[in-house]
Amino acid sequence: MSGEYNPSPEGNPSFLARRNRFQTALVRFIGKRTPKCREVVRILSQSMDSKLSLTMRIKLRLHYLICAWCQRYEKQLHKLRKFVSSVPDHLDDFSADTLSLTAKERMKEALREDRCE
């Protein structure tokens, strides 16, 4: 049965897995009707730039039921965005870069000369 999603329930953190006949049926059903993980990853990355349609958002939510990894991926993309935008608040930890004393002196000198002209 190629293309069919049939994940092992062993240590599977997803909400739905092949634990009983009912779940198995659900997993197959959802696996067929939602994008594959490789596609989901691409869609999620794009969603960071432009809004997803309602249909797609529903599909993703369904997909997450059978795939905890994609759900994690989405969470992590958002965390990344938060990290980047928080860099200015943690600038001292992120970067200890400073202008060297010589660089500063050079700048002051250049500004002094500039004023004299």
Partner: protein, 188 residues
């Protein structure tokens, strides 16, 4: 606009233009702001110097409504934008294509995650880990590993905004690839 949190003092009068004082007071802050975005020390230094020169010339337009630092940052931001424009990088997709391959081995032949290679839970929670100095060092390392073009788009887009990135780079590919790449390197 994102400017460093440390604000400079408000000048008492617009006429009080003291560029040498600016270097001491704002030099490092501006330098870090620039370095974050252009990622080359020499260039960051040049841009900061150009900012001070420009500030001296246009000091008449500084109304004192924002802080000195914000005002200088605004000038610097434009310099940064000009810098990227001048570079006039051509749109090359080789950097971006390579990222598709980065993740491809993590999926099975049917396109589902290989369970052993899928994303791990990130512990501890973001709110906790953000207060650790080591985290920011790691994060910085991850960013430095991004291919240059990807880093440009990612950083400019996320630290400024899409408009600024478009103005500076002339094109905006989704910062998706930046996200993908950085997340791959992120440690648990």
């Amino acid at each position: 606009m994102q400017s460093p949190k440390i604000e400079g003092p408000r000048p008492a009068a617009i006429a009080m233009v003291d560029p040498e004082h600016w270097v001491e007071e704002h030099g490092d802050g501006l330098y870090r702001y620039a370095l974050l975005r252009v990622r080359r020390p020499e260039i960051a230094e040049d841009l900061v110097q150009e900012t001070f020169f420009a500030a001296v010339r246009t000091s008449g337009s500084f109304r004192g409504k924002s802080s000195e630092r914000s005002w200088l940052c605004g000038i610097l931001k434009n310099k940064i934008c000009d810098h990227f424009r001048k570079l006039g990088r051509e749109t090359s997709f080789t950097d971006l294509e390579f990222l598709d391959d980065e993740l491809s081995h993590k999926f099975g032949p049917q396109g589902f995650w290989n369970h052993e290679r899928g994303p791990l839970e990130w512990r501890p929670e973001a709110e906790v880990v953000m207060h650790r100095a080591e985290f920011w060092e790691t994060f910085r390392n991850c960013l430095s590993k991004l291919p240059v073009r990807v880093a440009d788009v990612f950083i400019l887009r996320e630290m400024e905004d899409e408009y600024f990135a478009k103005q500076s780079l002339g094109y905006v590919t989704p910062s998706t690839d930046g996200f993908t790449r950085v997340s791959r390197n992120e440690l648990v």
